[in-house]
């Protein structure tokens, strides 16, 4: 043990020296237009965190309006632009601005927060490090995949200055509403800017994904088979395949809708609409929904599969146990990814597509519950007989699993097409999506941030503040989103500006108020995370090379790796989850440490290097 420590120190010094060697690059190549995957990951972290607060602010406006319809927004109400409020300075949100808010909240959170966090940040940071290579296969393309995000975000936000403001047709942008009937030809408006922006985001995703697939297939360290890869890499790899298959379809759909808006074509507009517009005819609005969901349902898995991988790795490390059923986990991820492409119609049960398709899509959708439950059971199996440490990363991982269970179960309701008749487009759906995307994805993202922060910045995050952040987030998250199921059962439609219009929703004012108060708490709890990150980068304890005593390859790199990542040659000798192996001093056995082992009765046994596997009874 002591020899390892000395060796680690030696490497740290060596690394410090190494850093200076890279000073020949100008500052803008180092920090701005860097091709180093770790710098790009940090850029994704920064942009996603900024957009997290933008999207969160949109959500709080929405919540305020629902809890206190017709009351001025407190504190900042008087400062809001005249186009947002019903009378200058009144602070009362207009219904039109409300529609913009809900559109922008969904769009920003999905396309500028969760996907860039899950795929952009973790994909960039984890893949090269965890497969033991120096960088991505195509570093320049990788740089571009980030540098499309800021212009895309600016284009999206620039709708503030155009007539009519932001896009207001929901993040799903169903035409004809999103086809901006009556918009003059060749005129940019919120909706067209939305389309251009998402087109760029899609480009960014594809460039990233091509890179991930290439890198995983070609640049794995010596000795690393596909089934020696940690589940994080598997999750990202399979996600990248989904992106390369799905995003082009979204791009096609976006182009068609853009042409409908900008050039007045008629892909999605039927004949003889009673509107001020004169150029419609021949199109089919439901076509958009098919194209959109053909991408956007797999996109749900784009947002959750990488986090499933991350959470698995965190849980194995902090339970000090191998992942239960590693291969089953890989096949479950692949199964979810495959099924993800044949279930898009479950968003459209009430859309007016042939009800026969409702049967088809219901059955395929319900099958997704199977790989999902396999994953849950395997996570529980990983905890079983572990030695569990409740670090901030682990707490968030456990929150992911438990909230994913709730989100998955509420998914069964809407997967059942007849139940969906009633709960479709109600708050039940809103509750479900937030349990999966906040309770699932965002807790997974937090878990990953706490887990890899030491490797990313060379400093430890404060565990105390990490736990506080987790506690308040978990509490307020459930107080905010669980009651939304109840609203949905009561029939409360989503995306309505004022529920008091309806008699059957009159009894829900109290619940709406409660949710809003919790949501404000939830929003402000996130400041703890930001403060913790900033404070820890400056003042945090210096991280050691392998602070969590984990097995995967990124922990073989120096504490704060520079360009090129590793200061030694990496050879992989075993799978990523060898914890608690009998006959070893330490309870972990990193992938890069030489040594021979065999598997007997689902357990790993250390053997001398000269033992022939085939001679050992029960080995396979």
């Amino acid at each position: 043990m002591s020899t390892t420590t000395i060796a680690e120190h030696a490497h740290v010094d060596h690394h410090a020296h190494d850093d200076h060697a890279h000073h020949h690059q100008p500052w803008y190549r180092q920090y701005l237009f860097s091709t180093d995957h770790k710098v790009i990951a940090k850029q994704f972290l920064l942009s996603s965190l900024i957009f997290l607060f933008v999207g969160g602010a949109f959500a709080l406006f929405i919540r305020w309006q629902l809890a206190y319809p017709g009351k001025p927004v407190p504190v900042i109400g008087a400062l809001m632009p005249d186009t947002w409020v019903d009378a200058p300075g009144s602070g009362i949100i207009t219904p039109e601005f409300y529609a913009q808010l809900l559109t922008m909240h969904g769009t920003v959170m999905i396309f500028f927060v969760i996907i860039p966090f899950a795929v952009g940040m973790f994909g960039n940071f984890c893949i090269p490090l965890m497969i033991g290579t120096d960088d991505m296969a195509l570093p320049r393309l990788n740089m571009w995949s980030f540098w499309l995000i800021p212009p895309a975000g600016l284009i999206m936000m620039s709708a503030f200055w155009v007539d009519g403001g932001y896009a207001a047709a929901g993040w799903t942008s169903y035409p004809p509403l999103s086809a901006s009937i009556g918009n003059p030809v060749m005129k940019l408006n919120g909706q067209t800017l939305w389309l251009i922006s998402l087109f760029l985001v899609g480009f960014s995703s594809i460039m990233g994904a091509v890179n991930y697939v290439t890198t995983v297939l070609n640049k794995r360290a010596k000795g690393m088979k596909l089934f020696d890869m940690p589940l994080t890499v598997w999750g990202l790899f399979i996600t990248a395949i989904i992106i390369t298959l799905g995003t082009p379809v979204l791009a096609a759909a976006l182009s068609m809708l853009f042409m409908d808006n900008f050039l007045h074509t008629n892909f999605f507009l039927p004949d003889h609409l009673i509107t001020s517009q004169k150029y419609f005819g021949g199109g089919q609005p439901v076509l958009w929904q098919h194209l959109f969901w053909f991408y956007s349902h797999p996109a749900v898995y784009i947002m959750i599969l990488p986090l499933m991988g991350i959470v698995s790795d965190v849980m194995a490390t902090f339970s000090r146990k191998p992942i239960y059923g590693y291969k089953a986990m890989v096949f479950a991820i692949a199964g979810i990814a495959f099924l993800g492409f044949v279930v898009w119609g479950h968003h459209m049960f009430q859309s007016g597509m042939n009800p026969l398709l409702g049967t088809t899509f219901m059955l395929s959708t319900i099958v997704i519950a199977v790989p999902s439950s396999i994953k849950v059971f395997n996570w529980l199996g990983t905890l079983w007989r572990g030695n569990i440490k409740f670090s901030s990363a682990m707490l968030n991982a456990l929150a992911f699993v438990s909230m994913f269970i709730i989100g998955g179960l509420s998914g069964v309701f809407m997967a059942s097409a007849p139940v969906d008749i009633y709960i479709h487009d109600t708050y039940f759906i809103v509750a479900h999506i937030h349990y999966v995307l906040f309770g699932g994805s965002l807790f997974g993202i937090f878990s990953g941030i706490y887990y890899w922060f030491p490797k990313m910045f060379g400093k430890m995050l404060s565990e105390t503040w990490g736990r506080r952040h987790f506690f308040w987030t978990f509490l307020f998250f459930n107080l905010t989103f669980f009651p939304m199921h109840v609203l949905g059962v009561g029939g409360h439609m989503r995306r309505i500006y004022d529920p008091n219009v309806y008699d059957f929703l009159k009894g829900m004012g109290g619940l709406n108020e409660f949710i809003t108060i919790a949501a404000i708490g939830l929003g402000f709890s996130q400041l703890i995370l930001v403060a913790n990150i900033i404070w820890s980068i400056k003042n945090g304890r210096k991280a050691s090379r392998n602070p969590w005593r984990a097995n995967t390859l990124e922990w073989a790199a120096p504490a704060h790796p520079g360009h090129g990542n590793f200061d030694r040659d990496i050879t992989v000798y075993r799978g990523p989850y060898e914890f608690g192996v009998e006959g070893r001093d330490t309870d972990y056995w990193p992938q890069w440490e030489p040594g021979k082992s065999i598997t007997v009765n689902h357990q790993t046994v250390v053997v001398a290097d000269d033992v022939d596997d085939t001679k050992v009874f029960g080995a396979h």
Partner: protein
């Protein structure tokens, strides 16, 4: 406090059900709800137990165990059976409520059209039959305009008694009501919470919506699909009436329609010009 606890009794929040198939949908919801609650307690129970029992102790080590195929297969097959069962059971109800061939023979047939922001309804009038309009003849779509949203053909005598109502409609109790829904501009969704009915209405296409109410009263129709700033205000009321009350109302409407139709001989002409203008 009672309010807070009632959050956990989710099923109590349903609005009253007044349609014949509504109870089956609510029962299906309840079945899935109870299964979910059971799975919730099973998984959370196991998790809580493991987290307490296997919490960190310096003298212990995690158990090096990579999983067991028999266990994996078991927990693959059991959920498959459970969920496939839910799927097959659901499908029966889905087919009954939504399949076109399962739409019952209508006692009352009504056309409904969503518009930003409101609803219009067309009743077949005294003869109980629709004249030529955008629903039964696609070419009549050319006649659709703001004052004649259903594209009623003024030259068809059968159409002259078809009357329109706006933001309210009435149906008889214990009768199969079949509505054909569409929209004149953007997507809307025809949502009758008490009837457990929801169907998006799509411009250019007609959707089958049917129900059979067993209770009289006044209820609400809402729009459930975002359709612009005024989406929230797209509320309408409907009344479920006894057969006698319904017939009385219908007769009154028919008389009203006849009175309105007689003096306005110009109306068809202005309709045609309006239609030509939009063309």
């Amino acid at each position: 406090m009672g309010d807070i606890l009632s959050v956990f009794d989710m099923l109590s929040w349903f609005p009253e059900n007044i349609s014949t198939f509504g109870q089956e949908l609510d029962n299906l919801f309840a079945i899935i709800y109870y299964i979910s609650v059971a799975i919730f307690f099973l998984t959370f129970g196991l998790m809580g137990w493991f987290l307490v029992k296997y919490r960190f102790k310096p003298e212990r080590r995690g158990y090096n165990y990579h999983g067991n195929n028999i266990v994996e297969v078991t927990w693959t097959i059991l959920p498959t059976i459970l969920f496939a069962g839910i799927g097959v059971y659901s499908d029966g109800i889905w087919e009954m409520t939504k399949y076109s061939k399962r739409v019952p023979k209508p006692d009352v047939e009504i056309l409904v059209l969503g518009k930003t922001f409101g609803w219009v309804f067309l009743y077949p009038g005294a003869d109980g039959k629709f004249g030529r309009n955008a629903f039964n003849d696609r070419t009549a779509r050319a006649l659709m305009n703001p004052s004649n949203p259903f594209g009623k053909d003024p030259e068809d005598p059968a159409a002259s008694d078809d009357f329109m109502t706006e933001n309210q409609f009435r149906v008889p109790v214990n009768a199969n009501v079949v509505m054909r829904g569409s929209s004149q501009d953007v997507l809307h969704s025809f949502f009758l919470p008490h009837m457990r009915v929801k169907q998006d209405v799509v411009p250019g296409t007609w959707m089958n919506i049917w129900y059979n109410a067993f209770k009289t009263g006044t209820y609400e129709l809402a729009c459930a699909e975002l359709c612009g700033g005024g989406h929230y205000s797209m509320r309408a009321e409907y009344q479920v009436l006894s057969k006698a009350d319904y017939d009385k109302w219908l007769d009154g409407k028919v008389a009203e329609q006849a009175a309105a139709a007689a003096p306005v001989a110009e109306a068809p002409a202005s309709d045609t010009t309006a239609a030509a203008a939009t063309h």
